[in-house]
Amino acid sequence: MSFELLRTSLSILLQGLVTTLLLSVASIVGGTLIGLFAAVLRSFGPWGTDRIARLYTELFRGTPVLITLMFIYFGVSYFGYAIDVFAAGVIGLSVYQGAYIAEVFRAGIEAVPKGQWEVSQILGLSRTQAFAFVVLPQTGRIVLPPLIGQYLSLIKDTSIVSMIGMSELMHGGQAIVDRIGKPVEIYGLVALIYFVVCFPLSQWVRHHDRRRLS
């Protein structure tokens, strides 16, 4: 591969990387909020909302993310509205990963001893206060490694949004291969870029996650 070619390819791919990172950050924020909400509902939700939260997690854990994305992107246009592919990607990834993140948070909430709740109650805290100030901060140590692991798979999953036409890193690679060929070199370069982003995160998770078997 000539130097000139490498330079132009790299500039296209790095532009794609920017979109990939934006998509990742937006979906991480969305997925975490949805996941936390679903976990709280599942553990404490009144009037059957816990069941709805459970249905939500089980539904998205049993179907592919690609189907979620297509459902949102094509489904919205089926009903006569237009949706931006970036928005569809963020919504799809957030809702999908939210289901996995909810399970991570739920495990964290369940790991905090029941006594903590009782003590908070005796000290005069409301249930909400007990959750926000006593239970939630303690879940951090348990929750953080699998949570980062989930973010890692979210970042990799952003590549799937290319299949509904989002021009991010993966799509950039495809575009170059369509134009000039050289799939090994170009996809190798794309892989290298993903690796550089993901490797530090996965190393962090490897060193902090004790529950390796699950």
Partner: protein, 238 residues
């Protein structure tokens, strides 16, 4: 009910064929991933640094790049190396390679979960290294890792949807085709969604039954998920 659903009724044979193809690819890739995972796990526990390095490199490269990219490299990249595969086998190999890397971590943890004292005791009793592995380590490790393996089987099933990107007519690929023919987006994808839910539930149910019969004492599985595919999240280790 309206005409739209009736239109889709005519596509039932195609959906069934696609479902069967999805199942085939899933099971073939699963077998490949079990073999690769076990080999990589053993390699990562090897006394030779070079072998350990190869296993580690395999796992890290796979775990830190998207599976869709891996599918593309196998399908579009391997022909440059003189190995041209059709979408079916490219899919089996790419997904097998992918899940194999994750399984190797699971297997390694499982092998290491067997207390060292047992290995020493077996050695004193006169068992050979190979025997110790197959008779002492493997049965206990298999039990410890079984629920995790089933989770990866379900992940694998869902991952086959990405093979529509290399035009394999599995469930998602077929849905895309029917979609462009009928323009019934919501209905078509609803059918596929249900198909995946059914497949993932059936697979995890079968795995649960197997787990209850294969191990002694039986691996009791708490039937958690009646809906998604992950019924085997926690098994008690009696």
């Amino acid at each position: 009910m309206n005409y739209e659903w009736l239109t889709l009724w005519g596509y039932v044979p195609e959906f069934l064929k696609a479902g069967w193809l999805t199942l085939q690819v899933t099971l073939l890739a699963f077998v490949l991933s079990l073999v690769l995972g076990l080999l990589a796990a053993l390699a990562s526990l090897s006394p030779m640094a070079a072998i350990r390095f190869v296993a580690r490199a395999y796992v890290e490269v796979i775990r830190n790049t998207p599976v869709l990219l891996q599918i593309f490299i196998v399908f579009f990249g391997l022909p440059s190396a003189g190995i041209a595969l059709d979408a079916y086998w490219a899919g089996v190999i790419a997904l097998g390679l992918n899940v194999g890397a994750y399984l190797s971590e699971v297997f390694r943890a499982g092998i290491q979960s067997v207390p060292r004292g047992q290995l020493e005791a077996a050695g004193i009793l006169g068992l050979e290294r190979g025997q110790i592995f197959t008779e002492i380590v493997l049965p206990q490790a298999a039990r410890a890792v079984y629920p995790a393996i089933v989770n990866y089987l379900i992940q694998l099933l869902l991952g086959t949807s990405l093979l529509s990107a290399i035009a394999l007519p599995e469930l998602t690929g077929t849905a895309t085709v029917i979609n462009s023919r009928t323009l019934l987006y919501v209905q078509t994808f609803s059918v596929v969604l249900v198909a995946y839910l059914v497949l993932s539930n059936v697979l995890s149910w079968i795995a649960g039954q197997l787990g209850a019969r294969m191990f002694h004492p039986p691996l009791v599985v708490r039937p958690r998920a009646r809906f998604g595919g992950l019924a085997l999240r926690r098994a008690n280790r009696a």
